[in-house]
């Protein structure tokens, strides 16, 4: 028979306003977008919400818009769309590149950028892009809209700053047109979560962010500052794991992860054009 989720009530929201209303009126509700983080957790009964509010049909949360200085990506935009978007490839190439490395083609056809970010998994790819590029999360709740920087967004393991009555509606990425970038992901099988990953955004406000180097997605702060002040590649890479508390599991112990973080940071810096 296989694994199936616990029972829940299914509701559909046709607009953000309707979804917000349902979040208030339904007990213990979770939002369902592409379902590629939530459904696996529900099948393993790690979460068993009483109500699922399906927001996947909300048109206003889909697609990529060029608003001048930033790209505004709707939270429901699927990885496949981000991966193939010409405007993303031109203005935030790190995002287009990494979107094409999430999971596998089937996962990218269904999973959404907003779903991946609110899941807050430290081993996921896209939080590192938001952190390295200095993205801003647009969150809507009963009191209106608020803006949260990526640095303040990831709070704890699988926990973000989005409140229980709020919805992540869009992500704004500052344009990085023409700037170099690098993403290095160390895996044993191509579809796996990164054992360690590193995202580098070059340009005026450079950033380095780490994947799976602690309980939350995080920037490599010391390395990012060294990069901004013009330090050499090896010196920046040596700082990559500074201040991290990497997890230990069957793939790697903490020391090995720190080593990987430095090696991958150097590779990502070189890919981004630093010498």
């Amino acid at each position: 028979m296989g694994m199936i989720p616990a029972r829940f009530d299914y509701r559909q929201a046709g607009s953000v306003a309707e979804a917000l209303q349902l979040l208030v009126s339904c007990d213990d509700a979770k939002l369902l977008a592409g379902g590629h983080s939530l459904v696996p957790l529900m099948k393993m009964r790690l979460v068993s919400p009483a109500t699922l509010i399906d927001i996947s049909g909300i048109a206003e949360l889909q697609g990529v818009a060029d608003t001048g200085s930033v790209l505004r990506v709707g939270a429901l935009t699927r990885h496949r769309v981000v991966e193939r978007s010409q405007v993303v490839a031109q203005h935030v190439p790190l995002l287009a590149h990494v979107a094409g490395l999430v999971g596998d083609p089937q996962v990218r056809n269904r999973g959404t950028i907003g779903g991946s970010l609110v899941h807050g998994d430290p081993a996921a790819d896209l939080p590192s892009v938001a952190l390295a590029t200095g993205a801003t999360m647009i969150v809507t709740g009963p009191a209106g809209e608020r803006r949260i920087t990526a640095a303040d967004f990831f709070v704890d393991f699988l926990e973000t700053a989005v409140g229980p009555d709020e919805i992540l509606t869009a992500i704004e990425f500052p344009k990085r047109t023409g700037a170099g970038f690098g993403y290095e992901k160390f895996v044993r099988r191509s579809m796996d979560y990164a054992i360690v990953g590193v995202a580098v955004q070059a340009g005026e406000q450079p950033g380095i962010a780490l994947v799976n180097m602690g309980s939350v997605p995080r920037r490599a702060e010391a390395a990012s500052q060294a990069l901004a002040s013009g330090a050499a590649v090896d010196a920046v890479a040596a700082l990559a794991a500074d201040g991290t508390n990497p997890p230990e599991d069957l793939n790697a112990n903490a020391d090995y992860r720190r080593h990987l973080a430095s090696v991958l940071t150097k590779r990502a810096l070189l890919a981004a054009g630093y010498r």
Partner: protein, 167 residues
């Protein structure tokens, strides 16, 4: 005796061109809807954790892992299973024939998912290079072939008619 209150919802999916409409619990997974409501058992449950790809079907023409999609999420959409590949009268599609010609299977458990992922690939990219084929199949695990013969099966299909017909 206690009664468990069960809410059901109507799910209507066009499966291989045929409308299937059933009252199911919202927690019903698409793969179970296909196997138990539509009675199409070609779609396999493998790992049940969105890793192995044995349950791959097309939703509106795009490959998806049906163990990780709720049936309600496919409501109103078009789903193609391995039974919908080929000409409908038992004739193989070029992808299926490629797996036969190049021995792209041993035990066959992964094959329906492989056929669907390859069909999606060739529909979108009729002449993929080897790298593109391997990338397109990264979400489908095979424990028998070592993938070499599967890659050759896709190459065979690409030069002998492509994705072929599917409903």
């Amino acid at each position: 005796m206690s009664t468990i209150e069960t809410h059901t919802t109507r799910v209507t999916v066009t499966v291989n061109g045929r409308e299937v409409s059933e009252e199911v619990e919202p927690r019903t997974l698409l793969v179970h809807f296909l196997r138990e409501q539509a009675r199409l058992t070609g779609t396999h449950v493998g790992c049940d954790t969105s890793n192995c790809g044995a349950c791959t079907v097309l939703i509106d023409g795009e490959a998806a892992k049906s163990c990780t999609v709720l049936a309600v999420q496919a409501n109103g959409h078009k789903v193609t299973t391995v039974e919908g590949v080929g000409n409908g009268s038992g004739g193989f599609s070029p992808v299926q024939e490629g797996f036969r010609q190049e021995h792209g299977l041993q035990c066959g458990y992964c094959t329906p998912g492989m056929i669907m992922a390859c069909t999606a690939l060739l529909t979108e990219n009729p002449k993929p290079n080897e790298h593109e084929i391997r990338e397109a199949l990264e979400g489908n695990l095979c424990r028998c072939t070592g993938y070499e013969t599967i890659v050759r099966a896709v190459q065979w299909a690409a030069t002998n008619g492509g994705a072929g017909e599917w409903a």
